[in-house]
Every structure is written in structure tokens, then in C-alpha cells.
């Protein structure tokens, strides 16, 4: 599974983005998207195209975590959203690995199940990689979002940060990467 995570301000300005791969099921944490490396902007296209749905859901559902809100079938990209009370959007694009994957990471269920039994006690780990819409995935994404939210709150409490500013702190990036490793 490959992930592309982005934070957008209430007026849709990108504040932060990061791409990473799963660390569960023996994943090495490196993103392998289906788009060629020369077309990484596709992630941004797909994720931004779901903003309309976010804005619709924003006023119908008072939860902060909006769960899985959009799918882009041609790329098998699933998008989950989280809204802070102040309207900042956290969007996570997840893309399961291509079935005829030639790389050794993820992919085969045989490999992932054997690894999850050995390396991780979390029962959800294998299903996170296997099925992007399962309740376990929703839960893992929720945990990830909550952890990012905590760090986001710490960022905005900094007196040198004003809402709408790009988040440049390398420590924040480290924390998001760690949250991705922990939950996804």
C-alpha cells in the first residue's frame, strides 16, 4: 500500500504533503504509486478532486473524521478525510499495490500473512494492506489522523505560526512519518 498525505488550509492552499508506503506486513515504508515517477502530480490531482465531496460532507456530518469519502477507480485510489474544527483538511490517498506486483514488498497475501504473524501483534496489520475500505483500515487511518492532528495542534500553538502558513518544520515531518509507520 502506498500513501499520499496532504494538509490543506480552509481556502485549499496546500500546507504540507508527504508520500510514504506501508510499514506493515514487511513493507519498507517506501511509496510505490501506480503512476510513473514522472507523473507524481497525479496524486495531487486525485486528492484535490475530492475536495468537492469534502465540502459537501463537511456540513452534513459533524465528525472530525469523515472516513473514506472518495474513490478514483482508474488508479484504485481511495481517499480518506479528516477535518479539524478550524476547517483545515487532512486528506490521505491510499493505493493498494498492483496485483501483478513485481516488487517483493506487500502484494502477495501469503507473504503478508506470514510476516504479520511474526513481526506484529496488531491484528489489523494484514488487513490494512489487503483491503482499503475495511473497518480495520478505517480505524488505522483514524488513529493516524488523530496523531497527526495532535502534532498539528502543537504546530499551530507555536507563536510563530499563523493559520494558512506552510508547515515547514522537519520535526513535524518526522512525527508524521512516525505516525505513518505506527498505524499504516
Amino acid at each position: 500500500m502506498s500513501y499520499y498525505f496532504t494538509i490543506l488550509s480552509p481556502s485549499d492552499a496546500p500546507l504540507f504533503n508527504i508520500a510514504f508506503g506501508t510499514s506493515k506486513s514487511g513493507g519498507d515504508g517506501i511509496a510505490r504509486f501506480r503512476f510513473p515517477d514522472s507523473a507524481q502530480y497525479m496524486n495531487q490531482f486525485v486528492i484535490h478532486s475530492s475536495l468537492d465531496i469534502v465540502e459537501e460532507a463537511q456540513w452534513m456530518n459533524g465528525n472530525m473524521y469523515l472516513k473514506h469519502i472518495d474513490t478514483y477507480p482508474p488508479a484504485a485510489a481511495y481517499i480518506s478525510a479528516f477535518l479539524t474544527p478550524s476547517g483545515t483538511r487532512f486528506l490521505l490517498l491510499h493505493q493498494p499495490p498492483q496485483p501483478p506486483s513485481t516488487s517483493s514488498t506487500g502484494g502477495s497475501s501469503l507473504l503478508s500473512s506470514s510476516f504479520s504473524g511474526a513481526s506484529s501483534s496488531r491484528a489489523s496489520s494484514s488487513s490494512v494492506a489487503a483491503n482499503p475500505t475495511s473497518p480495520q483500515t478505517e480505524e488505522a487511518v483514524r488513529q493516524f489522523m488523530n496523531e497527526v492532528y495532535e502534532n498539528y495542534v502543537k504546530t499551530i500553538m507555536s507563536p510563530f505560526y499563523r493559520q494558512g502558513m506552510e508547515i515547514r518544520s522537519p520535526v513535524f515531518r518526522t512525527k508524521v512519518t512516525a505516525a505513518g509507520r505506527k498505524w499504516l
Binding site: S9, P10, S11, I18, F20, G29, E55, Q58, W59, M60, G62, N63, M64, L83, T84, P85, S86, G87, T88, N146, Y149, E150, N151, Y152, V153, K154, T155, I156, M157, S158, F160, R162, Q163, G164, M165, R168, S169, P170, V171, F172, R173, T174, K175, T177, A178, R181
Partner: protein
């Protein structure tokens, strides 16, 4: 969508953390950053001597901590004095105080939700009106007002506001009033007679405005003196929601959103 017209003006201090900008230049290698969490390799970033950045501190650390009222009073007094420099009039001064409070409101909103979320066991913050273990973003005006009246006021002043009213006049259905009998910020302030219209709680009005705007409720908030025999410092915060909010309110009411 919610408009944030002031954000462009709020970027003025961004130059002060140019050292962070330098450090962010090497953000293309996140995998390296993991192994050296304190970033000793990047030259621009300065880490405190105890190696703890703001990200290593817990946000609930100061939740029950007490703050000296005197130090706040002196700080606020200096803020008023600062805002008073080169003002053209009372309205201008109130506007400046309001602008000082506005970014604070935006921050407090997220902090408030984080604390309500993380402390499901505590009862101090989850109010009677908006309490539910996973807190909901306010979608309608009334939950928003309860959020301000209860949890926000408790976060700021450790007590609820004293009254919450809707304008009785049919011409102004978009006006709501929150009353505080004795605003903390005004405790030690005596306004000179020639400025009797001034209320320094315009700062708090700015905080409320920030919270409303942050939630997507465009509003103008102002503070007004309404002294009574019992409460000489009684202050009414008048919230005037924008037309877009009122229109959305009607749509949401028809859709049955609460």
C-alpha cells in the same frame, strides 16, 4: 466556503523563523530524518538545550496549571497600551484589540477540540450542552454558541459565560448576544470618562470572532458595556453572523442537520 480575509495580513511575522525554512530545504529525505529526530545535522534548526521541541511536549501538560492573574493583568495592560499607539479613535483601538484576539481564537478552537477529544474521562471540559465523547464540529449556529458559552469560556476563564440570548428584533435574526457579568480582562481596567464607549473586552470579542470564523461561521463580534447596579463591568458580546451563514442555516435546517 468560509472566507479568511485576514490570513494574508497575518503572515507578517513569518520572516522570524527563516531558520526553519533553511532546515526544511532538506525535507526530501524523510527516511534520514527518522534516525536523527533532533535534526542535529541540519544547520539552520536550533533545538532547545534540553532537546525538547514543542512536538515533544504534551498538550495537556498545562491544562490544569494555574496562571498568575497579576502577570496576565500586566501583560494585557501592556497590550492595550501597545494597541493605543497612533490610533485614530476608540473604534480603531477596539479594532486593534479585536485583531489581537482573532488569531488566538483560531488556535484555541483546535486546542479545545484536541483536549476534549483526548480527555474522555475528564468532565471539566465536556459541557452539559455539547458533551459527547467524540466531539462534533458545530454545524449550526446554536451548537457553536453553546461551544463558546460553555467549553471555550471555561478554557479561558474557568467558568461559563453568564447568558446567551437571541436578538428579539425580527429585523436582526442574525444577532446573538453572550453576556459576561465581570470579564476577567477588564478586572483592573478603569476606562477614562472621555473614552466611555471603549470596552477592552474587544480582545475577547476578537477571540470569539476567530472561533466563529474558524468553524466556518463568518461573523462580526463586538463588545459593549451594559453596566448594572450589581455588575458595573457587565459586558455584552454581540455576534452578527453574515448572510452566507444565515442562508446555509436555512438549508441545513431543511436537511435536518442538527
Amino acid at each position: 466556503m468560509s472566507q479568511h480575509p485576514r490570513h494574508s495580513a497575518m503572515l507578517s511575522i513569518s520572516t522570524s523563523n527563516s531558520n526553519l525554512a533553511n532546515a526544511g530545504a532538506d525535507k526530501q529525505q524523510p527516511s534520514q530524518n527518522v534516525s536523527t529526530p533532533t535534526q542535529s545535522s541540519s544547520p539552520g534548526l536550533r533545538v532547545p538545550s534540553n532537546r525538547k521541541t514543542i512536538y515533544d511536549r504534551h498538550l495537556n501538560r498545562s491544562r490544569t496549571a494555574e496562571l498568575s492573574r497579576a502577570s496576565f493583568a500586566f501583560l494585557f495592560s501592556e497590550m492595550v497600551t501597545y494597541a493605543q499607539r497612533r490610533v485614530t479613535g476608540i473604534q480603531d483601538l477596539e479594532k486593534r484589540l479585536n485583531e489581537q484576539g482573532y488569531p488566538l481564537g483560531l488556535r484555541l478552537l483546535d486546542l479545545l477540540f484536541y483536549r476534549t477529544m483526548s480527555s474522555s474521562t475528564s468532565s471539566s471540559l465536556s459541557s452539559s450542552s455539547t458533551s459527547s465523547s467524540p466531539p462534533n464540529r458545530p454545524l449550526r449556529i446554536l451548537p457553536l454558541l453553546h461551544l463558546i458559552h460553555g467549553p471555550l469560556w471555561r478554557l479561558l476563564f474557568q467558568r461559563s459565560a453568564d447568558a446567551l440570548e437571541h436578538s428579539v428584533s425580527p429585523e436582526t435574526p442574525n444577532e446573538y448576544m453572550i453576556t459576561d457579568n465581570d470579564p476577567l480582562v477588564n478586572t483592573y481596567i478603569s476606562v477614562p470618562r472621555e473614552m466611555s464607549m471603549l470596552n477592552c473586552a474587544a480582545f475577547v470579542a476578537g477571540i470569539i470572532e476567530g472561533v466563529c470564523d474558524g468553524c466556518g461561521f463568518e461573523a462580526k463580534v463586538s463588545a459593549h458595556n451594559q453596566p448594572t447596579e450589581m455588575w458595573p463591568g457587565r459586558t455584552v458580546f454581540l455576534l452578527r453572523f453574515g448572510d452566507s451563514v444565515m442562508e446555509r442555516e436555512k438549508v441545513l435546517e431543511r436537511a435536518g442537520v442538527r
